[in-house]
């Protein structure tokens, strides 16, 4: 395989699609051949994404897919499962950002979504999150990028499983705070600036679909609640964990170092001085980093685990490119080396 590969993005006018285009444009090994959009067909990519005005590329119809080495599909839930054959015809490697291929069984789609039209793909697809599934990615031909809130939660809790602090039947509350880009590029009254500014809005009090994904990959049933807050990028998961026995700060450091000591994109931040003492979305905004950290609450025999990601990066497009890098045998961090800003408002 040559080092210069071609790539396409279905759903290129959306938020994660635009992020993919940005990442692929700056990636040493990819050349973007196509970006699709039905609503913006024939318009320049820069018409929608002002940061990509320098790209000499126009949106084309998703009906006319060009042949590429890797096809990223960033469409709403349900679209990819309908078009998967066309996608696989167009590219040897398909990386899908929707929920369509994340779970392993049709029954889960019946329970949490509206069923599945091609359940035979569910076994074949690989979950993209390298910290969880790196070994199965090389050569994978269908990769499912994780959900943003699930990714944040899984990253935070995984070390506790790795270290045997959690077994899966404990009580865990996950209280998530997310930015407006999670909702995608569509317009609605609830997401208008006047209605959505300055909020702490319980937008998924219970029953959020990412519970299924967390259960699938951690074997843990969590009590999950998501709030929308006033930022654009970012997802922060606060996990309140009640382990069976006492756990010390030292145990926790050991667990986190054990799980992430060699991971290029995970940083443990747990206490210390200065303004930024725990994971915060601001600290990772625009980057593919996940920050994880914790505090121990002996009085309540509770562990509090914090996890912060940029939903557009580690929570979707960045994770997708990371997985594609591994799948295709490229340098794992290629195109993902941006380390973030300070100061930064709310990217």
């Amino acid at each position: 395989m040559s080092d210069q590969l071609t790539a396409g993005v279905v759903g290129g006018s959306g938020f994660t699609g635009g992020e993919l285009l940005r990442l692929l444009d700056g990636h040493p090994n990819f050349e973007v051949e196509q970006a699709t959009s039905r609503s913006y067909e024939r318009k320049t990519v820069g018409h929608v994404h002002p940061n990509l005005r320098h790209l000499d590329l126009r949106f084309t119809s998703p009906e006319d897919l060009e042949s590429v080495d890797v096809l990223f599909t960033a469409t709403p839930h349900g679209v990819s499962m309908e078009h998967i054959d066309a996608f696989q015809d167009a590219a040897d490697t398909v990386v899908d950002l929707s929920a369509d291929f994340r779970l392993s069984e049709a029954a889960q789609y019946d329970e949490w979504y509206d069923g599945h039209v091609c359940p035979e793909y569910l076994e074949k697809s690989e979950y993209a999150l390298p910290e969880l599934n790196r070994e199965n990615l090389p050569g994978a031909d269908l990769i499912a990028a994780g959900g943003c809130n699930a990714t944040a939660t899984i990253l935070g809790l995984k070390p506790l499983f790795d270290a045997g602090i959690l077994a899966g039947d404990e009580q865990v509350v996950v209280d998530v705070k997310v930015g407006s880009s999670e909702g995608g590029a569509g317009a609605s009254k609830a997401s208008s600036h006047a209605e959505r500014s300055g909020i702490v809005r319980p937008y998924a009090p219970t029953g959020h679909r990412h519970e299924a994904e967390i259960e699938e990959y951690l074997g843990l049933s969590v009590s999950f609640t998501v709030h929308a807050v006033d930022m654009v990028r970012g997802a922060a998961a606060t996990c309140h964990v009640f382990p069976d026995g006492p756990v010390s700060k030292g145990d926790m450091w050991k667990a986190f170092r054990g799980s992430y000591g060699d991971e290029p994109f995970v940083r443990t931040v747990a206490g210390g001085g200065g303004v930024y003492r725990y994971p915060e979305p601001k600290s990772v905004a625009g980057t593919n980093y996940g920050e994880v950290g914790f505090e121990v609450d002996p009085g309540n025999r509770r562990l509090v685990v914090f996890s912060a990601i940029d939903n557009m990066m580690k929570g979707s497009a960045g994770q997708a490119v990371h997985a594609a890098n591994i799948a295709l045998g490229l340098d794992e961090t290629a195109g993902l080396d941006f380390t973030g800003f300070h100061p930064v408002g709310s990217p």
Partner: protein
């Protein structure tokens, strides 16, 4: 990438790329200026600034 042809942007004078199959009357945006342009003739392709699309823009 699909086939493209070049034309002159009427606002900036810059050479710009357009899809090869543009048609007379089509409104297309310019990669040089972002402006909406109308294709007024083909062979060679000639462009004019499109009449303002009074899109509501948030007032």
């Amino acid at each position: 990438m699909s086939d493209t042809i070049t034309a002159e942007d009427p606002l900036s004078g810059e050479e710009i790329e357009l899809p090869a199959d543009v048609e007379v009357g089509e409104i297309i945006d310019s990669p040089a200026t972002g402006a909406e342009l109308e294709v007024v003739s083909l062979d060679p392709v000639t462009l004019e600034e499109a009449p303002e699309l009074e899109e509501d823009w948030g007032e």
